[in-house]
Point group: C2
Chain length 218, copies 2
């Protein structure tokens, strides 16, 4: 009961940090004292759980990382059943995101704006997702015509598109009736664009990388 209570307040600290981010500020704009105030403990008790704010941020990254993995797991388990794979996948994913709003709000806010260590951790997480997605895509017969490096870029595009859609999936700053469904449809369409592009991708190498003008059209 000693360590159990400790983990409990530790979680309270993490939750308080997430809750305070709903005021509109970034993670770096939240103070140690604010968090402890929210939890109801004295500022110095913070150090019983984290050496500093930075490592609390890293703990949040880990939390959102495993949460994201869970969402992916849910999507994947249904992906091979339905025919409308994209639609079903997006539906599952969006449901999961709104059910864990605060966590993904943190992710959306800090993916580029956070302190360098937290940002780096998020980038690493993103890269792992991309790598995993590449492995998944390799198993799909529809993507067999794509080269490995093209697959990597495709996966990167998909992941970044999903990440960049997080703000509109989360923000309560909408007045009309069904802005969530609209954002969800938009994400679905975007992925449809991308996968359509992948389907008709021609492995044409457009010569060297740099500035020779004569490339394949389009």
């Amino acid at each position: 009961m000693r360590a159990e209570k400790k983990l409990q307040t530790r979680q309270s600290l993490l939750d308080a940090a997430l809750a305070l981010m709903e005021t509109g500020r970034g993670f770096s704009g939240i103070s140690l004292r604010e968090i402890t105030r929210e939890v109801g403990i004295v500022p110095t008790a913070f150090y019983r759980h984290f050496p500093d704010m930075e490592s609390l941020g890293l703990a949040l990254v880990e939390e959102v990382s495993s949460s994201f993995r869970e969402a992916i797991r849910l999507v994947r388990s249904n992906q091979f059943e339905h025919l409308g794979a994209i639609s079903a996948s997006v539906q599952i994913f969006v449901d999961y995101v709104v059910a864990h709003r605060q966590l993904f709000l943190f992710l959306a806010r800090e993916q580029y704006g956070g302190a360098s260590v937290v940002r780096q951790a998020i980038e690493d997480m993103q890269q792992r997702f991309i790598t995993d997605l590449v492995a998944d895509l390799k198993l799909m017969p529809k993507q067999r015509h794509l080269r490995d490096d093209d697959l990597e870029i495709l996966a990167d595009l998909i992941v970044k598109t999903v990440f960049s859609s997080l703000p509109e999936l989360i923000n309560p700053a909408e007045l009309k009736g069904a802005p969530l469904q609209l954002a969800q449809d938009r994400l679905e369409s975007k992925l449809r664009f991308i996968f359509m592009g992948a389907k008709y991708w021609r492995g044409i190498r457009w010569a060297a990388s740099s500035s020779d003008g004569a490339t394949a059209s389009e």
Copy 2:
């Protein structure tokens, strides 16, 4: 010579804010006093130019906005010449971004992470770009098979893809020889995926928006 000098130090304040962001912190992590210290004036002189930090941030958004417009103008003036439109456009754009690194660093950092007012201003700017791009795409004969709302989503996808590529185009945190050229190639390939998807886009309406399972395949 009185107002000229004033504009000069005002610009110094803006530049100092950008310069301080290269320390890794977000805009909200920079203090008023730090900026004045960097410029070499006393803290209270700040108020001769901005009522508070927030409006300095908004001034930065305006600056990056007009800078971005200039980049787009450059891209557009060459777009109708070459055949390798994507490659040339990306080349021009990337050149412009690295030439104005600090401004676009600010944009990349604050697009989601910034204080609510600044973030909102950036979102508005993004939306104007999307609207403009829709108008542009409408003029291109290759995109005539796309419905208006599909064009909107396509433009959204393109703009967000470019925005999400900004960090890798800017960050000096690379050790190898040519990471910039690599990032540039990646952006080019992503846009190629997207435009390929647009080319083969079929205007099929997949029924209503919400949760009916029977959708078009893929």
